[in-house]
Symmetry: D3
């Protein structure tokens, strides 16, 4: 069973990604997290920025593939929310400016469920012209 | 140009959808909004619940197709975030329990941009067995 | 090399599907074709209506699978144009009213290219409420 | 309710895109339209060619994002018909040679429905080798 | 690093799914596996058949969601190979007759990689008419 | 009706793709086949490698488009199994190392079914870092 909502990994990741400069937000207990920003027309640069931040901040171990694999699929799922159909940016002449948050922890009452990872993305998507854009958001969740 | 972030339609819709029982949140100025809940294995019931709520609450006019059309595509885009690949629920043996929010207003500095609509969905997705589920979230945005 | 445009199978199929009651249009030379109508929220009924018409009119042989296979994939490709993302109708609370045309013939200068099939669909797609709909069109082409 | 078929925006856009050199076709009443050609293995160049033509010909206002947004999604929907599955060209080793038409006007009896835009694409898709190609067509429609 | 090919989980799952009546095949060492058959036009029945077999045979624990989650995504990935575009069967008027195999074990040299699961599907896909079908195959792999 | 399983084109193509260095496998009777390897982050290079091998080995005629068309769609279907959702490699920061097999022959009892083609891909997919990868497999089948 999922914990009460305030202790859910996805909601917390989204709250972190929505956080503006100067705002603060405390994650529950002993969860790990990192945040970052990425703007690009290249979808692979978005993937790389999140992976790099997660590794640098020790959210995932770099020498165990299963952790990279878990994170990768969480990123891809979050990108589906951002792109809504085709996971493409520059190829269909659009660009994104995103803040991202990665959270790792156990969101279930049952400790056997172990660690999960949530990737939240929030920002803008649109034409490669300043102002021609609207908001976009994505959330991916996976077991580690 | 989008307004400052606190006055953005997508962020506000997401905040509304994330709101728990008893919590409160004030939308900026003169925007219209409604909230609701829907749980189903039928994706068309999710679409119907949101459309019905939006019409009942006067967010969209029922006698002008363009408003229904705008809302429909915003819902579909939000469902992409929720389903992350195939917009299918029961057909791939999964079910959702969602809270939704629909917000209508002008999120741009320029008044000529007129009204836009944001649809935010937040809840759980998983097997049709209580507890076998994780969080999910989607945001769709369209010009009215 | 494709023949001159007036003798192209896709263009001719589209012209047939666009034809209104009472209008006439002559296909080039010795091509085979059939037309029909189908309205449904069930995507499989659209597929069935086209397959049935094609078989009844002798466009494809019923006892050779390769001809059914060729037609099936042409139908699926045409449905992508009609649905633009997810090949779903009622599952995402929408319905279609379509005219269809199936044309069989050789659209290439080189006779070795043999027969190809084109499936064209034209009509409306929208909410299951009269008037809440816009036009839609799809074209699928395959070698027989 | 949609107007009679001859005054429908999608059908008219398709007729324009199907028009060969030297042929003529009159759009109903006071609609705006433009036509053009684009051949590329880069899907973003197809998008750019259509957007540029629409702006140059005053079909959409360049200083109002909602008009660009409406057109962009219509283009994307038309590209679904052209690509039938994955909105990719060179990435899956294929190329297109397309004529396009953009039409803007009100296709509904009810004037409140306002302006809509239709994007029609017609041409060939295939291997990057002359002659190894078949026809393709797509139609996207959106409210402005 | 993946183990030598004969000890790879995906290859072994595929070999099991390809196995005909009366043939035998030995999985390496201490891996767990189960096999089964399912024929249906309902994609959710394919998912259910595999999940049920995996639980009944103790491949995954029924009281830990993370194991169901891992298996579910592996099944979905395998279904992508079987359906090649839209994860739909009866909705697009086609049916499958499949043999499936689920294998659980550690396919990496590094023991820290822990258990992974592979789902392989092999059989036929086609019209709901005997004989109008061709082969199909899918493989999904996930960390447990 | 499909021939007995040992004489099925898809199964035989998969067996060929699974074959390791030094192993041997005999195709039934008079079928044509070729094998090869390709590693890339560019999906178009995977397509090109298979097309080139098939042409060089006389599996398809280079001067008849219908044969290229049949092979192309079989390759695309096989790539769906390999990529499981979005037919993208480097664009989503992943790379493949694949062995492929192309088989041409008649897999049906009825000689009128003529030649079909099967494309099987087997190998690894993962991050562009040695070892961070798992297995992947795809099969595409088409009538020639
Ligand atoms: Mg999941
Ligand atoms: Mg948009
Ligand atoms: Mg084709
Ligand atoms: Mg629409
Ligand atoms: Mg994976
Ligand atoms: Mg097929």
């Amino acid at each position: 069973m999922l914990k009460v909502e305030k202790q859910r990994i996805g909601k917390n990741a989204v709250m972190l990604a929505l956080l503006e400069e100067g705002e603060e937000f405390n994650l529950p207990g002993n969860w790990q997290s990192c945040r970052g920003k990425v703007g690009s027309m290249d979808s692979h640069k978005v993937v790389a920025a999140i992976e790099t931040a997660a590794k640098k901040n020790g959210i995932i171990k770099t020498d165990v593939y299963r952790e990279s694999h878990a994170l990768y699929h969480a990123i891809m799922e979050a990108l589906h929310g951002v792109t809504r159909g085709q996971v493409q940016l520059g190829d269909v002449l659009r660009t994104v400016g995103l803040r991202f948050a990665v959270v790792r922890g156990n969101p279930y009452e049952n400790e056997q469920e172990g660690d999960w990872v949530a990737v939240a993305l929030y920002g803008t998507i649109g034409a490669p012209v300043k102002g021609l854009e609207h908001e976009t958001l994505g959330l991916g969740i996976n077991h580690m």
